[in-house]
């Protein structure tokens, strides 16, 4: 049940998508992978629909295995959906994959630089494959190497590059043919904080200054919050919420209360006790952590602490805060972000569906 929060997940005829100003329009994508050895196939996408407007950064947020990479693979013509349609830069991905390929740049999760080639050669090869003349390709490579501060390392083999440099090179290669739609599949995974900050600046620049439409997948909540104009939360192969980060956060009434109790056993007791309080809504608990929502931040904490003391539960920490994307995720996906989706815990703390 996609929750279309202030967004436009309308089912328009696919050929007219450009008229609506959509860079990407995906409708009901389904993709199932055979896993072999008599095991049941895994459904990676279970009817995923999304729209990305021109010139915006759209964040696809979810844990590993939620279906983010499969979505990118289908939209970038690497994989074919079992059913559903997708239009990227005005072209249907299954009917006109070549037209889509000319209009997109893909920066995949894994580094795409051949280790025994130099940075400059990597860019030149991509430029020539896109049909540029030798002269054009050289000029474009020099321009991109300069822009990504790789000019000094341009003629070194990429196996000598740092993780941050490789990622910059990947982006440079992805931009070589001046795409209108850019796919960034977990662009900062594995980067150190400094390289990550640089990459964030770069992505923000691409969207604002260069007017690129960007589909960004990430499993970092702060990254989605920082970069995405709009975002969708993916869970079990479908979108469970969609909107701007602020819209999603304001969907949660009131502030977020997080209480950590002293030991595991007390968790259930505390959760039960807190559920009965009028001041709290949406009480959930995982292990020692109890989460809830409150409408009156100021008055709540004393009530909560008094109730727990009365129940004889030791409190390790208790906070009240504005809702974060973490809370948004918990709210819409039904389990907290850190948990793997297929082993999520019920309120009683028992793993459910762990056998899937």
């Amino acid at each position: 049940m996609p929750n279309a929060l202030g967004s436009t997940t309308t089912r328009t005829p696919r050929t007219s998508s450009t008229a609506h100003g959509f860079a990407i329009e995906a409708t009901d994508l389904v993709k199932t992978y055979a896993t072999g050895r008599g095991t049941s196939p895994v459904q990676a996408l279970a009817g995923l629909s999304l729209t990305v407007r021109q010139g915006e950064v759209f964040g696809l947020l979810g844990p590993n295995g939620a279906g983010k990479s499969t979505t990118v693979k289908i939209l970038s013509t690497l994989a074919r959906p079992d059913s559903g349609t997708a239009v990227v830069a005005g072209y249907d991905v299954t009917q006109h994959p070549d037209a889509v390929r000319r209009a997109i740049g893909l920066i995949s999760q894994k580094s795409s630089s051949a280790p025994m080639m130099t940075g400059r050669e990597s860019i030149l090869l991509a430029a020539r494959i896109h049909g540029m003349s030798r002269h054009e390709a050289r000029a474009r490579a020099a321009e991109l190497l300069d822009r990504f501060s790789l000019a000094d390392a341009a003629d070194r083999l990429t196996k000598t590059y740092s993780g941050g440099m490789l990622r910059k090179l990947d982006v440079a290669v992805g931009l070589v043919a001046r795409p209108t739609v850019l796919f960034l599949d977990e662009p900062t995974t594995g980067l150190d904080p400094e390289a990550r900050a640089q990459m964030w600046d770069e992505i923000a620049h691409l969207a604002t200054v260069e007017q690129l439409s960007v589909l960004l997948t990430t499993h970092y909540l702060d990254e989605a919050d920082h970069l995405a104009d709009r975002l969708a939360i993916v869970d079990h192969g479908r979108i469970v919420a969609e909107g701007t980060p602020d819209e999603l956060k304001s969907e949660l009434r009131g502030d977020s209360v997080v209480v950590e109790v002293a030991d595991q056993a007390a968790g259930a007791v505390a959760a039960q006790r807190l559920s009965s309080l009028d001041a709290l809504d949406d009480v959930t608990h995982e292990g020692r952590v109890i989460r809830a929502r409150t409408r009156s931040a100021a008055g709540t904490m004393p009530v909560v602490l008094a109730a727990l003391e009365q129940a004889g539960v030791g409190v390790a920490s208790a906070t009240v805060s504005r809702p974060s994307l973490d809370d948004v995720y918990l709210h819409f996906a039904g389990h907290s972000f850190e948990e793997e989706p297929r082993g999520y815990r019920t309120k009683s703390g028992v793993p459910e569906g762990a056998d899937r």
């Binding site: 051949a114 025994m116 050669e121 896109h130």
Partner: protein
């Protein structure tokens, strides 16, 4: 079409650039043929004296040379898919497939590259054989057709290796193929033994063995009195098989993309 040609050229050059930076790879592929040619060739040098062995007065090493050339081509080509497997484990393959590169060019790039490597290997084997005393009846046309046959055999097995790499995505498969195919195909051919001295069943199997076709083309072309009928038939069969295998390898991309 022009895109196919230019993309093939670009990707061939990419592989050659990498090879030039790691010349040791080429040297390693030449160790085996030197062992066959110089050690095996010496050890069995009296084989030519067996009644029924038609050597036209040549040394066993001269008889063996076409066999060693073709074995070398086959062994190297069986590993061609390694490039794809490395590209797949890095993100290179994904980025390539999301770009307008022609699928046929990806196959052509590795196959043409292997063909060029094969020319170099063949040249080295021929030079070493000559230096070790092997002499041929018609060296001019013989060398040209030996190289042509080695390249065609390379295309056949490089395309097969590429197709298997795309379908299984595992280096282990290529190890298995080179182990299971290379030596048996060598022993089921006239690479190291005169067909007239083989058991009947091996003679029959050899008739359908592409390695044997390539060896016969080369050996006939190098002999003083080439049998052009043998050369035409076996050479033609190699050309057809090379085209079919390249087409199959390109088709394998479709299957690969369905599984990702």
């Amino acid at each position: 079409m022009t895109a196919l040609v230019s993309h093939s050229a670009l990707l061939t050059r990419r592989s050659l650039t990498v090879l030039v930076r790691q010349p040791a790879y080429l040297l390693i592929t030449l160790i085996q043929p030197m062992i066959w040619l110089l050690l095996f060739g010496q050890l069995f040098s009296k084989v030519v004296d067996i009644p029924g062995f038609t050597s036209d007065g040549q040394s066993f090493m001269a008889f063996l040379t076409p066999g060693v050339v073709m074995m070398t081509a086959l062994f190297s080509a069986a590993w061609a898919g390694t490039t794809f497997i490395e590209d797949m484990s890095l993100g290179v393959m994904d980025r390539m497939l999301a770009s307008p590169v022609r699928r046929g060019a990806l196959v052509n790039g590795t196959v043409i590259y292997q063909g060029i490597v094969s020319v170099a290997q063949t040249a080295v084997v021929l030079v070493v054989a000559y230096a070790a005393g092997a002499r041929f009846g018609s060296p001019g046309i013989g060398i040209v057709l030996t190289i042509a046959a080695a390249v065609l055999l390379t295309v056949v097995f490089a395309a097969l290796s590429n197709a298997l790499a795309l379908l299984t995505r595992q280096q282990e498969t290529l190890i298995g193929v080179s182990q299971l195919l290379a030596l048996p195909l060598t022993f089921l051919s006239s690479a190291i033994m005169d067909p007239r001295l083989m058991p009947d069943w091996i003679q029959t199997v050899a008739r359908y063995n592409p390695l044997d076709w390539a060896v016969l083309v080369s050996r006939e072309a190098l002999s003083a009195t080439p049998d052009w009928g043998v050369i035409a038939w076996r050479g033609g069969a190699l050309v057809v098989l090379a085209v079919v295998m390249s087409w199959l390898a390109t088709k394998a991309f479709g299957t690969y993309q369905k599984s990702v």
